[in-house]
């Protein structure tokens, strides 16, 4: 769009600003709530930040919020990070390798293998949750990091994405690498993975968020509080039965829980955007 019409420019900006405000407003409210005392918040949500910022975050970070019915915040953040990283890295590793196998090797039942992987797209965690639980319980992986992450690692989406990408890599590149004396693994490491760099970054961000936002699965496989994730923690704090939830502390926790994904996105932003919009060849 290279049109230059002042009215349109104003309208465009208005729409964009409104859209942005719509997304930012809830987060702003959460932040505001986290800077007041519990009493103030329960009386009705103020619109401007209060003076309890340091106190609230201090409480949440140091004392933990045992009173609110959840394990210490640091531990939950750590659990969430471990789970998300394991899921993101595990998914990428497995799907890169399986896509490599499917695209570059001729083996019996190759097509069947691909379709089997593809069909699992139709079975998200929620659908297969009971059998998966049974298996994980049978393997004794309840209340462990392995139990939290491994069942979520198998991923058709990422496999499919890498398959599509690998298929756009020109065959001549494979031929050239063969003539240059690169075996399959060398080709994978020296050519394919570097070429997938932007895709890798985009996928990492998406999968990290996917892992971070998991709620149902961690809820099922963890009964030991020391394996609780931050998302579960917030839910526990907001749902404390008879008592009034300590909203100011809940919101402070929520804001803190937002930070790691934000850090991941910001640090990967440039690669991430490139991975979504361009295919480098």
């Amino acid at each position: 769009m290279v049109e230059r019409r002042p009215v349109m420019t104003v309208v465009q900006h208005l729409v964009l600003i409104l859209g942005a405000a719509l997304f930012v407003f809830p987060i702003y409210l959460a932040f505001v709530a986290s800077t007041h005392t519990g009493v103030e918040v329960s009386r009705g949500l103020p619109l401007f930040p209060g003076d309890q910022l340091v106190t609230n975050y201090g409480t949440v970070l140091s004392d933990g919020i045992a009173s609110a019915g959840a394990p210490p915040l640091g531990l939950m953040l750590f659990n969430s990070t471990v789970m998300s990283l394991a899921i993101a890295i595990g998914k990428i590793a497995i799907s890169l390798l399986s896509a490599f196998a499917i695209v570059y090797f001729r083996f019996p039942f190759r097509i069947l293998a691909f379709w089997t992987i593809f069909i699992t797209l139709m079975l998200p965690v929620e659908v297969r949750i009971l059998p998966t639980y049974e298996v994980v319980a049978g393997l004794g992986m309840l209340n462990s990091y392995a139990g939290l992450s491994i069942p979520l690692i198998a991923s058709a989406t990422a496999t499919f994405l890498f398959r599509q990408f690998f298929m756009t890599v020109p065959d001549e590149l494979t031929d050239a690498a063969r003539i240059d004396g690169a075996g399959p693994l060398k080709f994978f490491r020296d050519i394919l993975v570097p070429l997938s760099r932007t895709n890798l970054a985009a996928l990492f961000v998406i999968l990290f968020l996917y892992g971070w936002n998991q709620y149902l699965w961690p809820l099922l496989v963890t009964t030991d509080e020391s394996y609780y994730t931050i998302v579960m923690g917030i839910q526990r704090m907001a749902n404390v039965g008879e008592q009034q939830p300590v909203w100011n502390l809940v919101m402070a926790t929520a804001i803190l829980a937002l930070l790691p994904p934000v850090v991941v996105i910001l640090s990967m932003q440039r690669l991430f955007v490139r991975g979504l919009i361009e295919v480098e060849k």
């Binding site: 020109p170 001549e172 590149l173 031929d175 050239a176 690498a177 063969r178 003539i179 240059d180 004396g181 690169a182 060398k186 020296d190 050519i191 570097p194 070429l195 760099r197 480098e280 060849k281």
Partner: protein, 361 residues
């Protein structure tokens, strides 16, 4: 440096589709042999079999006397230049050229020296730190060549390396490839569908059609003594004119419609047989106005002025198909003119019903 022997090679794709039924070819040490033919004729398949990128269904390929049928491409001591260059997009020019050497475990210092040498030959020294996407088409082409020569292989394989370049760059790179190949004296196999490239580059040409070798010979051979009608039509631009005719009763000439009698010694022994007469556009020349039986009138329909030459399209008296004559540029002609023409003696080609040339010695 090594000769290549292609011995009764056969290629069948699953289907089954027989791409190459049975083909043999010997390429001498240091020779540049061009495989030329229309698309789908099997020339690239043959090249890829020599490279080891395609399995050989039957027969044998030897490079430097060594049977290579079951060797990996990297073990055959060959290098290949691809049509789309196939440079590694994420590597610098230097790394692109060094990659094959690294995989062979060549010491670092030696790699540096080899790459610098190759870059010097190709004028790439200033570009070594660039990525392929920062290069022009001609430069990429040169890097692809550099990647091939840096390893000093026994054989170069070229797969239509100039097809992606514009016309000017193409003729320039053509000369460069020729010069480079002479300088390095490396046995080369060059695939192209462009007959100009084939004629100018090749020491010898293999003209392929439907997986069959129609003719093997020097450029002059295939131009002056095409073995089949296909070769005659494929080599030469504009294309050779083909006309139906019948050998005269005394075997000293060929009768064509329009009362044209072409004297040719080639018809001897084929008296009375129908033949296809082939005359190249450049061998049709204006004749003195006359109604002699060895001239024929061309009703001109379209004139293409090339400067040095003028291409005249038209129909000959008594013939339905259009023919093309390449006449001197100095000749004044306009569309619609009637132009008496004669064929230069000794330049006429005859083909029998099986489309094979007759009368060649």
């Amino acid at each position: 440096m090594a000769p290549i022997a292609i011995d009764g090679v056969r290629k069948v794709y699953p289907g089954p589709v027989e791409a190459i039924p049975n083909l043999s070819l010997e390429i001498a040490d240091g020779e540049l042999c061009v495989l030329v033919g229309p698309s789908g004729c099997g020339k690239s398949t043959l090249l890829r079999m020599v490279a080891g990128l395609e399995e050989i269904t039957g027969g044998e390929i030897r490079i430097g006397g060594r049977r290579v049928n079951d060797l990996e491409p990297a073990e055959r001591d060959i290098a290949m230049v691809f049509q789309n260059y196939a440079l590694y997009p994420h590597m610098t020019v230097y790394d692109n050229m060094a990659y094959g050497l690294r995989n062979r475990g060549v010491p670092k210092a030696e790699i540096r020296a080899l790459v610098d040498e190759a870059a010097g030959i190709l004028g790439l020294s200033a570009l070594l730190a660039r990525k392929p996407r920062q290069l022009s088409g001609g430069q990429r082409q040169r890097v692809a060549m550099g990647r091939a020569i840096v390893r000093k292989p026994q054989v170069f394989l070229f797969d239509e390396p100039l097809s992606n370049l514009d016309a000017k760059l193409r003729s320039q790179m053509r000369v460069e490839i020729k010069r480079l190949q002479r300088r390095l004296a490396t046995t080369s196999l060059y695939v192209t569908h462009d007959q100009v490239e084939a004629m100018t580059l090749g020491d010898r040409l293999l003209i392929m059609n439907h997986g069959i070798a129609e003719q093997v010979g020097t450029p002059m051979d295939v131009y002056h003594r095409p073995a089949t009608r296909f070769v005659a039509g494929f080599i030469g631009s504009p294309m050779m004119n083909f006309l139906p005719g019948r050998v005269a009763g005394d075997g000293r000439g060929v009768h064509l419609p329009g009362g044209w009698l072409l004297a040719t010694a080639k018809a001897r022994g084929h008296a009375g047989r129908p033949v296809t007469v082939g005359i190249r556009p450049e061998h049709l020349q204006p004749a003195a106005t006359g109604t002699d039986s060895d001239t024929i009138t061309l009703r001109t329909e379209l004139i293409e002025v090339l400067g040095a030459d003028t291409l005249v399209h038209g129909r000959l008296d008594g013939h339905d198909d259009t023919v093309i004559a390449r006449l001197p540029g100095s000749l004044q002609v306009a569309a619609g003119d009637n132009l008496p023409l004669a064929a230069e003696p000794g330049t006429v080609h005859l083909f029998d019903e099986t489309e094979r040339a007759i009368g060649h010695v």
